[in-house]
Symmetry: C2
């Protein structure tokens, strides 16, 4: 990792100095790289997510650098949760705006450290850069699972039921920043239930579900009446000019960072019954996995129709 | 890792499809995260480096996306080399310019895949984003070392001699893009010599040396006449208006990605003698570690004077 000198040294030194000692680190932060002691007899799970100012957030009164630091780490931890992985270590690379970058860096670090501590991960190092562009932060999170223990998105089978944790939609009213990754919940579920497939809801319930079933080579039917709609989705739909239903918001808003799981029917029923006591959050059966390809929706009258996956999409020109 | 749909899907699918199968991957690329089988009885070494268009490179005829992909990975592998770590796996996050991003992404991927293959690392996944800003690429590299086997920058002791691989200076004439990380050389040296401290020369020989001695709590004296000067440094110094000596270039240009090592005197002598046969590259003793703090230079007449660390620096405003 490249560290740097000049005014930025403050940030790097502060970062290094503020990292709590952790027995998982054989070489402490500040060297060319971090050296981790991987837990014995476990696999290493690794994920990376980059957030860019103006795309994923807009710095300002409603979005502080601390919140960005939290979110950048939390979305990565949500990917670990989607694999049923225990968070272990984190490294971060940032491109800080030259103007005000020192204060921004301090806020980012505060947000990252608090989030890492809350989920048992150690901040192992990073790369700090300054430029004239917008803030960019890329975090890589390392977790661990027992051999063969990682949840995959390609294991859904016909007959499985689809279960979602919590509720969806309207995350833009605040949850998109105060991301609460389902790390602990995932570990509890992995220890007590037979999960065939899992994904976290980052880009939109219907879009992420379509990814799971496409990867699994199966189809799915969503019972529209059973989709758990977050109160934020209802509030957003009620705003003048919104023009979308609460269900629309729940199916397509994304950034819910809930778990979407496929389990055998009896396991799904048990998860709905016992999950709240074990994890403190509700679980809802929203549909079933069937043979075939593609996503469809069942209305309250029992009729089904194709359901177009909706959610956050990037796009290129030319 | 967030993947995305739309035109970008091409890039993500191509990335995933073009990753060679690797027995180190328990879950293949394309899931929420990669699952790696860490080598038994070894530590995990992790490093991250971000490159930004306009700061670290300028895309154009002299710098293609493929070269950027190569460099972004190679500078991370150089950090692994500086720890004597064997490259294992790599993940990449990119912010692609919306305009032309698809072609840029393809070039980046080609450069990364070739570099990863050349050094025995597997590309395990990534996060692809599009925006209206410049190209940003952040790579995290994972390596492995035996317990206690990682080279550190804080182990230099008075009496050690300082050894540099290859030659320094003038990297802007081409080597700053065609980075050749000293991964294999580092593993050979680690297996045959007692190295007390190591760092890679990324920002400048004198600056990186100052980091090593500061971390080690020692001082160093550089014999100016012995610094190996790259032919590119001589060529740069000869350019009209350059105004710097070849030695100046060697001490401060950076991006040499050579190894700077501190070893006991007898080991350093053996490395200079046997290193070329073992690794195919030359090694040169450039000075010694002494008690105290700070960097000084010894001229050919034997006089010493403080040597100001020079190299690439970031800086913030306000």
């Amino acid at each position: 990792m490249a560290d740097t000198v000049g005014m930025e040294l403050d940030f790097v030194s502060r970062l290094i100095a503020s990292i709590p000692a952790d027995s998982r680190l054989e070489v402490p932060p500040g060297d060319d790289a971090a050296v981790l002691r991987p837990p014995a007899e476990r696999r290493t799970v690794v994920t990376v997510d980059m957030l860019m100012e103006g795309v994923d957030f807009v710095l300002g009164a409603d979005c502080t650098p601390r919140q960005v630091g939290h979110k950048a780490l939390a979305v990565n931890l949500s990917d670990l949760a989607a694999m049923a992985a225990r968070p272990e270590a984190v490294v971060a690379a940032v491109a800080l705006p030259r103007r005000g970058g020192d204060a921004i860096g301090r806020g980012l670090l505060d947000g990252m450290l608090a989030c890492a501590a809350a989920h048992g991960a150690t901040l192992a190092g990073g790369d700090t850069n300054a430029w004239d562009g917008p803030l960019v932060i890329s975090i890589t999170a390392l977790g661990s699972v027992p051999p063969g223990g990682a949840w995959r998105r390609d294991g859904a089978r016909p007959g499985d039921l689809l279960v979602v944790s919590g509720a969806c939609g309207g995350s833009l009213l605040g949850r998109h920043l105060a991301v609460a990754p389902r790390c602990r919940e995932a570990l509890v579920i992995a220890g007590a239930f037979d999960v065939h497939a899992a994904i976290d809801i980052s880009d939109g319930l219907s879009l992420d579900l379509s990814r799971m079933i496409d990867a699994s080579g199966v189809a799915a039917v969503v019972d529209l009446a059973s989709v758990p709609i977050h109160a934020d989705a209802t509030r957003m739909a009620a705003r003048p000019g919104d023009g979308r239903s609460p269900l629309d918001h729940a199916l397509g808003d994304g950034e819910d960072f809930e778990l979407l799981l496929a389990l055998p029917a009896d396991e799904a029923g048990r998860l709905v019954t016992d999950g709240p006591r074990l994890t403190g959050i509700p679980f809802t059966i929203i549909g079933e996995v069937v043979a075939g390809r593609g996503l469809s929706a069942r209305a309250t009258d029992g009729s089904t129709a194709p359901l177009a996956p909706r959610g956050y999409e990037h796009a290129f020109e030319g």
